[in-house]
């Protein structure tokens, strides 16, 4: 088991290096080939060629992409000094780059934004798992009933309606209209109550979308499992129905749910872009949107790396959890 974890962690690091290299290529090599110049993003409307060249040196854009890549990777473990163009800016360990747009190290920005995204993802995850799995199981057990049809219709609606619709609708009703929920994010440390109040709408909106998907997935899987021989055997042996469902059917049902959960959680931690934008949550997704609008390449790179790391690590955790849930895939 330990060796397996170590192997997977090494694979995670390799994967992140590949993602970094590809992202670097997209942001720094392709613009070079197409003739666009990132230095022009940082100069004002009266800039002369000398100024543009100074900025180019400061951003070290003259270096080959592989050299820039090496500087970036080594900066994560050793820190970095930006010394081009006669200027010197120090970036502390772990240096995930330096934003010449906001004149900030990237890592503190990511640290500042990550808790918001984690708050959103964790709260919504609890809601959608509870809502989605319970609804899916009940629907499967009451297949064809009014409950089943109503629940699946709502689930279909949930899957079909995008966040920017349900989000705006919930804001229009509960925030601007009824004034029940402010819908503005406050740090947990500042006021836990306001933090909770500010996240209710985003949680529910996000959970509505995911719960719908999980309900449909759980229902379909549960129906399939309920038709399996071992369930029939369990019932034939005289086991009580709650035990058949709760112990035997649920374990198998949860395997695909867990697989999808790992992917979804990883992607959400990387930035729930639409939810954060709609509800103006200052998380990683919102940072990514602003960074793309401002062409803040180092910040885009930082968020991309966090997103990639979140997906890869969440999948690792899921793989390890398989062994707990399903003895058939227990690792030797």
């Amino acid at each position: 088991m330990f060796a397996y974890i170590v192997r997977r962690l090494v694979a995670v690091i390799v994967m992140l290096l590949v993602v970094t290299l590809v992202t670097f290529g997209i942001f720094f090599a392709i613009p070079k080939l197409t003739g666009s110049d990132p230095a022009l993003l940082y100069v004002g409307k009266q800039a002369d060629p000398e100024t543009i060249e100074g900025i180019r040196q400061k951003l070290e854009l003259g270096d080959p992409v592989l050299v820039q890549f090496w500087h970036f990777v080594s900066g994560i473990v050793a820190g970095r000094d930006y010394t081009g163009g006669g200027t010197s800016v120090h970036c502390d360990v772990p240096c995930f780059g330096y934003s010449f747009r906001t004149e900030q190290d990237i890592w503190p920005v990511l640290q500042d934004r990550l808790p918001v995204t984690l708050s959103l993802a964790a709260g919504a995850c609890v809601l959608w798992l509870l809502g989605g799995v319970i609804t899916g199981v009940v629907s499967a057990l009451k297949r064809g009933s009014l409950w089943d049809r109503a629940a699946m219709t709502v689930a279909l609606g949930g899957v079909s309606l995008p966040i920017y619709f349900t989000g705006l609708l919930s804001l229009a009703v509960f925030s601007y209209g009824l004034g029940w929920l402010d819908g503005e994010y406050v740090d947990f440390a500042e006021s836990p109550g306001e933090w909770f109040g500010g996240l209710i709408l985003p949680w529910v909106t996000l959970a509505f979308l995911y719960a719908a998907m999980y309900a449909r997935l759980t229902r379909a899987t549960m129906l399939e499992i309920l038709g399996e021989d071992y369930i029939r055997t369990a019932r034939a042996k005289g086991l009580r129905e709650p035990v058949v469902i709760g112990k035997h059917a649920m374990r198998s049902t949860m395997t695909p749910v867990l697989t999808i959960l790992g992917m979804d959680l990883g992607a959400l931690v990387g930035g729930a872009i639409l939810t954060e934008t709609t509800f103006n949550l200052p998380g990683l997704g919102q940072a990514a949107v602003k960074a793309i609008g401002d062409r803040d390449l180092p910040l885009i790179l930082g968020v991309t790396l966090i997103a990639a790391a979140a997906v890869v690590l969440a999948n690792l955790v899921v793989d390890l959890l398989y062994a707990v849930i399903d003895p058939r895939v227990r690792l030797s």
Binding site: L40, D48, P49, I52, G85, L146, L169, T278, G293
Partner: protein
């Protein structure tokens, strides 16, 4: 069957209830807002245009800004966004500053840290200022003439202090002989020869060439003082050291900021700023619709960016809370320009054919209509700039419709009676500009001018349409753009667009590549003139030459719809700040 029908009825009833609730709640939200947040009755539609709405000197409260765009930098020497210049008066002072008065009156500069607007030498090349008594930094230390010189010098360090306006550098040291304070070997880092500081209270500017707009340049935040021991170079914009009535408490880029009173600032030393609120906050959002709704609900007082409400918010505000809305001129012109390096736009008649064939009302609609888009433009000087002539309309653009007969005549005269083919270049991140490109494309087709629309990366403007070589190689015959004045004179508006000496290899703004010695000469004459009215007349002549040369097709003199909460006092729009409210005069207590 009966059960099914009943469940359908129940569903229909439920849906109707949701719709009713939505209609009800959103109607309640419109203008009414939350009790206690609005602070009373709003003064009326356009109450803040050309006059002061809700005049009051009562101090206290929190002035709450919201916005969707952070400043390019809060460093006085690096910021170039219009709203940053307006906001900068909270924490920076300059020798002179735009008059704190509504509309046209704000175009004049008045003394701020200086005792007067400067003593000008007979040859108009030397300006001498004396500093007032009682000027202090936020730690109580006195502001001296050396701090002002140091602040201005920072602009020369373009490797560190990039992005801001370069007017002072161009006026004082056009050959850029000085390398900036960070590479200055002199012990006090005050090596710029064009500025002298004979004592702590006197500062002398020596210009190589007379420039009547020099006081306007000194009114920009780029002329604000910076104290060398507080200068953090590139990072200064994260917490500028205050010389104004408010000091910085916190700032997180793209999230928000907070200013509180600078207790060391002395009211008697400042004849301009009212400094009424106790606290100023800015919240930065990513959802423009949410921002408009929160403004209408009374959660915030005004949009710091002031680029106009979105279409949904605008409609809601105009229908249910019109008394909270102003519709000012922004000082911008939205236009198309014809680079004469791209054939057939080297021919005046081909350019004029496009001007006559365009559907001007359709272009105005594409920009948002008469209120949110602006008035039909007739020339290349906007109403907020000295030299504007309301009666001037050589192409009769005010009639708002194409003149197809004239367009065909011009096509014949340019030797292309059947029309021609060209490319329209437009920024991909500006939906109204794309809409104007499409409008122009449809209108030109009617006279045989076929166009392709190239939507280029709007963030790369400097290197794409700002590089004449690239414009020529891509065959951009029509470029869609907009322009606002850095300061309300022809030099601040028209010259960078049309003076041949301003054509640059990169970062060019004279997209038409106009280089007419007669026009250039007019600029020299106007700039040397220190009387703004006389200079305005000369710029008016230049405008006629530019407009009648057919290099530009002006669409609109831009206007927008901006929100002010009912709490706000001393509200008025300022020409000096592109039709934004004069932030430094605002209060929130009644």
């Amino acid at each position: 069957m009966a059960t099914q029908r009943n469940s359908r009825r129940a569903l229909a009833a439920g849906a109707a209830l949701v719709v009713a609730a939505l209609v009800g709640t959103t109607a309640c939200g419109g203008g009414g807002g939350k009790d206690g947040k609005h602070g009373g009755k709003a003064p009326g539609f356009n109450a803040g245009i050309d006059k002061v709405a809700s005049a009051s000197d009562k101090k206290g409260g929190e002035l709450r800004f919201i916005g969707t765009q952070d400043a390019d930098s809060w460093d006085p020497q690096r910021g170039y966004y219009g709203f940053m210049w307006d906001f900068a008066r909270f924490y920076t002072r300059t020798l002179v500053t735009p008059k704190a008065a509504p509309g046209k009156e704000s175009r004049a500069v008045v003394p701020d840290m200086a005792t007067d607007t400067g003593k000008v030498s007979a040859d108009k090349k030397t300006y001498t200022f004396t500093l007032r008594d009682g000027l202090t930094w936020e730690d109580g230390q006195p502001i001296t003439s050396r701090h002002i010189k140091y602040g201005i010098e920072r602009t020369w360090a373009q490797d560190k202090i990039s992005g801001g306006p370069l007017w002072l550098m161009q006026a004082l040291d056009p050959d850029k002989t000085y390398k900036g304070p960070y590479k200055d070997d002199s012990p006090d880092k005050l090596g710029l020869k064009a500025i002298e500081t004979p004592d702590d209270k006197t500062i002398v500017f020596k210009l190589p060439k007379a420039n009547g707009d020099f006081p306007q340049m000194l009114a920009l935040p780029a002329a604000a003082p910076v104290r060398p021991d507080k200068d953090t170079a590139e990072k200064y914009g994260q917490k500028p050291f205050s010389s104004g009535p408010y000091r910085w408490v916190s700032y997180t880029p793209n999230k928000g900021l907070e200013l509180v009173r600078n207790e060391k600032w002395k009211r008697e030393s400042d004849p301009v700023r009212k400094a009424l609120p106790d606290k100023i906050t800015v919240k930065l959002s990513t959802n423009a619709d949410d921002m408009d709704n929160r403004l209408i609900a009374g959660d915030y007082d005004l949009d710091i960016n002031a680029t106009g409400m979105g279409s949904a918010g605008r409609q809601k505000a105009l229908q249910s809370a019109k008394a909270n809305v102003d519709n000012p001129q922004t000082g911008f012109i939205r236009y198309a320009v014809f680079p004469q390096t791209v054939a057939p736009f080297d021919n005046e008649h081909c350019r004029k054919a496009v001007i006559y064939a365009a559907d001007h009302t359709s272009l105005q609609t594409a920009r948002g209509g008469p209120d949110a888009g602006g008035d039909l433009a007739t020339g290349m000087i906007p109403p907020s700039v000295e030299g504007y002539d309301p009666g001037y309309d050589p192409f009769r653009l005010k009639q708002g419709k194409p003149d197809l007969d004239k367009a065909k005549e011009e096509l014949k005269a340019c030797g292309k009676p059947e029309g021609f083919k060209t490319t329209i270049a437009v920024r991909n991140n500006k939906p109204p500009e794309i809409a104007t490109a499409e409008s122009l494309q449809a209108a030109l087709k009617k006279v045989g001018i076929q166009t392709d629309i190239d939507q280029y990366d709007g963030a790369q403007t400097t290197g794409i349409i700002g590089a004449p070589k690239n414009v020529k190689s891509k065959g951009y015959g029509i470029i869609i753009m907009g322009w606002g004045a850095d300061f309300p004179s022809g030099q601040g508006f028209l010259q960078p667009l049309t003076d041949g000496r301003f054509i640059l290899d990169s970062g060019n703004n004279n997209y038409g590549e106009i280089n007419d010695p007669a026009i250039n000469k007019l600029y020299d004459q106007a700039i040397a003139e220190t009387d703004p009215a006389k200079a305005g007349k000369i710029f008016q002549e230049a405008n006629k030459k530019v407009t009648e040369g057919g290099w530009y097709l002006p669409f609109v003199f831009e206007k927008n719809i901006i929100w002010r909460s009912s709490r706000l006092t001393n509200v008025y729009t300022s020409d000096a700040y592109n039709g934004r409210y004069d932030y430094a005069s605002l209060g929130v207590a009644k």
